[in-house]
Amino acid sequence: MSDTSPTPHVPLLEVRNCSLRFGGISALTDVSLKIGHAELVGLIGPNGAGKTSLFNILTGVYQPTRGEIHFEGSSCVGLLPHRINILGMARTFQNIRLFGSLDVRMNIRTSFIARLRNGLVHTIRRGRSFLSEEKEIQEEARRLLAYFGLEEAASLPSRSLSYGDQRRLEIVRALATKPRLLLLDEPAAGMNPTEKEALKRLVTQIRSEFGTAILLVEHDMKVVMGICERVVVLDQGQVIAEGTPDEVRADPKVIAAYLGESHSEEEIS
């Protein structure tokens, strides 16, 4: 597949002048974005700014109307979602999408299916190579669950977990596909402050332990500002600001996008 040694000149992900239109409505206009290896980037913007649309063109759910997307130097426009995952991009969903009838451990193990050495025939034959691979997967799933503190829930149905744990499980499941870029779609949505703190720790921990680059789409400014090195701000389908959290926070365009334009006094009176 793609070469694994990171070449310093090629960014991990490069979005070049991407536009997405639905009929007459422009969801994204000329969006460009770069994410480096093991970088933690935040993507923020008010409601309807195009954050999820950008997510969806990255993961192959939609095709961009114009523009290019390169992952590790190779174009990934037009690939189906599962091909994009195999390339090395994994995502979570804004509305949690776990496999409800499978238990927690099995939810993790589904992530290994695309990379199995033993296919259908070997599975039915149940030879030595099949059994040893099943053991490896079992062991790796166990390690991941232990690492993220979900070990005790391993044999519970995934839908019986608490909301925060379900979010965590979804992240672990995406991580189990061994991505080089992890895309998190509003992971803090609906979380209470304690859960949000835990999530922030989790995200930084993933980056430092697994060396995974992370693109974090988030509504909650505090979460993004607290952990991201670089923040990209979208508004009405366009990138209006980009920089460190402090730079972005001070940017008048960002303030305007979030709080509305400031009006001069005579207009008000």
Partner: protein, 332 residues
């Protein structure tokens, strides 16, 4: 913990050997079993194959298919043509009229080819139509089932509406029960593996499955092809058990009967579905004396079954007998 895990995952192979031994034993004792009971066992075995193979498509992968009987018809007609026309013309010196060792030896490749032909048809139908979901897929498969039936009805080479008779009675207890054991083994082996969870993942959430790198179309088509393959084998067994087939025997009601077995057995549980297939076969036999009231009582009992779910209740009992058998796919 670990040894339990490996034991459970290598279990099905033991079951396969034991099951095949049972089939052979049953065949050896066949002389003591009266013809009626033999036929009921044959039908039960054929229904187990049909129900567990449809369960892979409907119960595990979540694709509503209404044409399982059509795949059965393809297998039945393909095998009847092979034993009735192709084999006699290839080897004219054997006597193909009775049950001989020669016809028994040739029945294995006949079963296999019948399954493969049905699988090929499954690929042709499933490839394009599995891009559809839910109701639309049901419509396409319903239509396809009717197309097969009407095609057979209007093809004079296979007897048209009169069907084909005088088929070699090659199906015996060994072939029927043996095939049922192999089918059940395959389904259990699939459901208890990482690969097999792909089917369940596709059923639970296609979008999430694709995001985890699972080629959802490939999994759906694979389920469909495996289902069609075993339905084809069931059709071949059926044709060579009743010695007469006609297009009407494979209409949509037959598909529906198989669906009832799958639903009663608890969607997605191979052992439960096999138990319910046996129960419904027996029910069909017990109700024969009621003549015209049969379908009324049948329907009432099915409704009762749905409410009390005996197959599901029997599972804990089976689990105690053989640890690990019939566990929910979600547990492992």
């Amino acid at each position: 913990m670990f040894s339990v895990y490996t034991a459970r995952f290598s279990n099905p192979r033991l079951g396969l050997v034991a099951g095949l031994a049972c089939a052979a034993l049953l065949q050896c004792c066949g002389g003591w079993i009266d013809p009626y009971t033999t036929q009921v066992i044959l039908f039960a075995a054929i229904n187990v194959i049909l129900a567990t193979s449809l369960n892979l498509v409907m119960g595990e992968t979540g694709q509503f298919s209404l044409c399982h009987a059509a795949f059965m018809a393809v297998g039945a007609y393909a095998s009847a043509l092979m034993t009735g026309r192709v084999l006699p013309s290839l080897l004219p010196h054997f006597s193909w009229t009775g049950i001989s060792w020669a016809s028994q030896a040739f029945f294995f490749p006949v079963l296999l080819i019948a399954g493969l032909v049905a699988a090929l048809v499954g690929l042709i139908v499933g490839g394009p139509s599995l891009r559809l979901r839910g109701d639309y897929l049901a419509m396409v498969t319903l239509g396809f089932g009717e197309i097969i039936r009407v095609l057979l009805q209007n093809t004079n080479a296979v007897g048209g509406a009169r069907g084909m008779d005088g088929i070699l009675p090659a199906t015996n207890l060994f072939w029927a029960v043996g095939s049922a054991v192999v089918t059940l083994y395959t389904m259990i082996a699939l459901v208890r593996s990482t690969y097999g969870r792909g089917f369940l993942a596709v059923r639970d959430d296609e979008i999430a499955a694709a995001a985890m790198g699972i080629d959802t179309t490939k999994f759906k088509v694979t389920a469909f092809i495996i289902g069609a393959f075993f339905a084809g084998i069931a059709g071949a067994l059926y044709a060579h058990a009743v010695e007469f087939i006609s297009p009407e025997g494979f209409n949509f009601l037959r598909s529906f009967e198989i669906i009832v077995m799958v639903i009663l057995g608890g969607l997605g549980r191979p052992v439960g579905v096999a138990v319910s297939a046996i129960l419904i076969t027996l029910l069909n036999e017990w109700l024969r004396d009621l003549s015209q009231y049969r379908m009324v009582v049948y329907a009432l009992i099915i409704i009762l079954f749905m409410i009390i779910r005996p197959a599901e209740k029997l599972l804990p009992f089976f689990r105690r007998l053989v640890p690990g058998v019939g566990k929910k796919p979600s547990r492992s």
